[in-house]
């Protein structure tokens, strides 16, 4: 079995919040012991709601936030904060907000050409060629090169953002809610574009989204996060057709399903609000909202263990869920 492209080993990112004047320091465990693999050519979907730590996880993988403990390895080698240039050529990111993620004072050409020059491509014609190629790949016309971001629609800006992420030919691209801020009628265009580029360029993705439909269509494997921990992970079909963690089931049940495509019952819905990551509930973080809550859930943190080959869930009742 080939070496995974990305290997996260018990990764934790903790922040200290508050201070002497504000009721003492508290630790925010944004990422609380995450172990994940992403294989070459694979898309890993990362699902979770606000406060689950998925964005922090993305930033840690990118090397922008130092982990508190645990290891991040790309292609077998540990990432260190020092070799930013090498990391930049391996991992890139597509951002959520197409309106804020482009420098308003740079033309498209400059936004795409600068990183190339920064990474040592000096030959002018090569830079131009690669810029034009990338623009064509994402569906932009050559005459778009000398325009500014405000002259484009949201969908086009996202294409520019995707082009920027791919211009250095990375192996792994983290897509952070790439279509949430776009009009619904163009989301399919961007999703198809991402799928096409993945095949064309042999990329791996980590697709972060709260939209289960997007995750289902794009991912090969899926991991579900809640308050800093992975609560379930497995192949896309298993996760969505045979979810073994009550939170996964709650997420699925929460989606309005007028066609009843998914067999989820009303009893699977989660109650109450998401707890604060500053003060997570003891034991299993999901227990206050869980329809299956028992004594054990408060006292004992469930381990992420297998229910089937390649399918793991962190629930004491993983064999009885569903």
């Amino acid at each position: 079995m080939a070496e995974p492209l990305l290997k996260l080993d018990d990764l934790a990112v903790h922040f200290t919040v508050g201070g002497a004047l504000r009721g003492g320091t508290k630790i925010l465990k944004a990422v609380d012991g995450v172990s994940l693999d992403v294989n070459p050519g694979e898309c890993l979907g990362l699902v979770g709601e606000s406060g689950c730590g998925k964005s922090t996880l993305a930033l840690a993988i990118m090397g922008l936030i130092p982990p508190t403990h645990g290891g991040i390895a790309l292609n077998g080698r540990a990432i260190s904060g020092r070799d930013r240039m090498a990391t930049a050529r391996t991992v890139q990111m597509v951002f959520q907000d197409p309106y804020a993620s482009l420098n308003p004072r740079q033309t498209v050409r400059r936004t795409l050409a600068d990183p190339l020059r920064l990474h040592g491509v000096t030959d002018r014609s090569e830079v131009d060629q690669r810029v034009m190629d990338m623009m064509a790949k994402v569906g932009l016309r050559p005459d778009h090169a000398d325009r500014y971001p405000h002259e484009f629609s949201g969908g086009q800006r996202q294409r520019i953002g995707i082009a920027r992420a791919l211009i250095l030919q990375p192996k792994l691209v983290i897509c952070d809610e790439p279509v949430s801020a776009l009009d619904v009628s163009i989301r399919a265009q961007i999703i198809n574009l991402l799928l096409d580029l993945k095949d064309e360029m042999g990329l791996s993705y980590i697709m972060i989204s709260h939209d289960l439909g997007v995750v289902e269509h794009v991912s090969d494997r899926v991991a579900v996060m809640y308050l800093g921990r992975i609560v379930e992970q497995g192949g896309w079909q298993e996760i969505f057709e045979d979810p073994r963690h009550p939170y996964t089931r709650a997420l699925i049940a929460a989606i309005p399903d007028p066609f009843h495509l998914v067999a989820a019952s009303a009893t699977a819905k989660a109650r109450g609000e998401i707890a604060s990551a500053l003060n997570p509930p003891p034991g299993c973080h999901f227990n206050p909202r869980c329809p299956m809550k028992a004594e054990r859930c408060v006292s004992e943190v469930p381990a992420l263990e297998a229910v089937a080959a390649g399918h793991r869930a962190a629930c004491h009742f993983r064999d009885r869920v569903g």
Binding site: T87, A88, F95, Y99, A100, L102, N103, P104, L118, H150
Partner: protein, 273 residues
């Protein structure tokens, strides 16, 4: 981009002042320092002396025109100095945060608590009078505003996606600050700079008035005001014309600053309807 009347009027006034300074040798009527004839002392405005003469018999008009050089040099150079210091400090403090930010912010607060003119006075007292000391004194005491504004702008921009994207693409901190952040915060900074120039000119006038800036016989608008102090009733033209020169130049700079703000501000990503 609409050029309001502010920009035109302000720009015109500033252009006049700058032209006067540059073209002084050609449009002055006499040498401002040497052509002193006590026989002509304190004459009111006439055809020969459009703005009258001063106590030494020197043509005020020529002195004003040459004085423009001093005032504008002081104004522009000291403000450039202030902006460079302030923007660099503010940019780095906002971007890096941490102890550097604490240090810079603390110093800025200190500077803002001391009236800059008093500060400049103190420096002038140490360095002695003269154009160079004036520029230095004014150039290192008024950077707090640009620092504050630059820092605030950086803080609000830091979380924008394209800054993060630049980091992810491997851009170093300094490169990001100067190629990604700075161009996007220029608007308010330019406005502060033009306003600051006006302020510097006024400060020069005040310091020279107090006898600490430009010393006679060299003409600066402030020192001309100083010399005219005792004659305000008897020979008002001695103070009126330098005063008007200061007034119109500073007004022009302020209007220009206002106009620039309007032009540069709505320069943002406008969302599609």
């Amino acid at each position: 981009m609409k050029w309001g009347s502010n920009t035109w009027v302000g720009g015109a006034l500033v252009a006049v002042a700058i032209s006067a300074a540059i073209l002084a040798p050609w449009i002055a009527l006499t040498d401002p320092v040497m052509d002193a004839n006590l026989m002509n002392a304190e004459l009111p405005p006439s055809w020969q002396f459009p703005f009258g003469t001063d106590a030494q018999g020197r043509d005020i008009y020529s002195r004003i025109v040459y004085g423009a050089r001093i005032s504008l040099t002081v104004g522009i150079v000291s403000q450039i100095c202030n902006s460079l210091i302030g923007v660099t400090l503010g940019l780095t403090a906002g971007y890096w945060g941490g102890w550097w930010d604490d240090l810079v912010s603390g110093t800025t607060n200190l500077m803002l608590a001391i009236p800059s003119l008093v500060f400049a006075l103190a420096i002038m007292a140490i360095l002695g009078p003269g154009l160079v000391s004036l520029v230095i004194a004014l150039g290192i005491t008024s950077w707090s505003y640009s620092c504050r504004i630059a820092r605030a702008q950086v803080l609000s921009l830091k979380s924008q996606g394209y800054i993060q994207a630049a980091r992810i693409l491997g851009y170093g901190d300094l490169r990001i600050m100067f190629t990604q952040v700075l161009p996007n915060i220029l608007g308010p900074l330019i406005v502060i700079a033009t306003l600051g120039m006006g302020g510097a000119i006024l400060a020069e006038a005040a310091l020279s008035f107090l006898g600490l800036g430009i010393r006679p016989p060299f003409p600066s608008w402030g020192s001309m005001l100083s010399e005219a102090r005792d004659q305000i009733r008897a020979a008002p033209w001695l103070s009126v014309f330098p005063g008007l020169a200061i007034f119109f130049t500073v007004l022009g700079l302020n209007l220009l600053g206002d106009g620039l703000r309007d032009i540069l501000d709505p320069q943002s990503t406008t969302r599609r309807a």
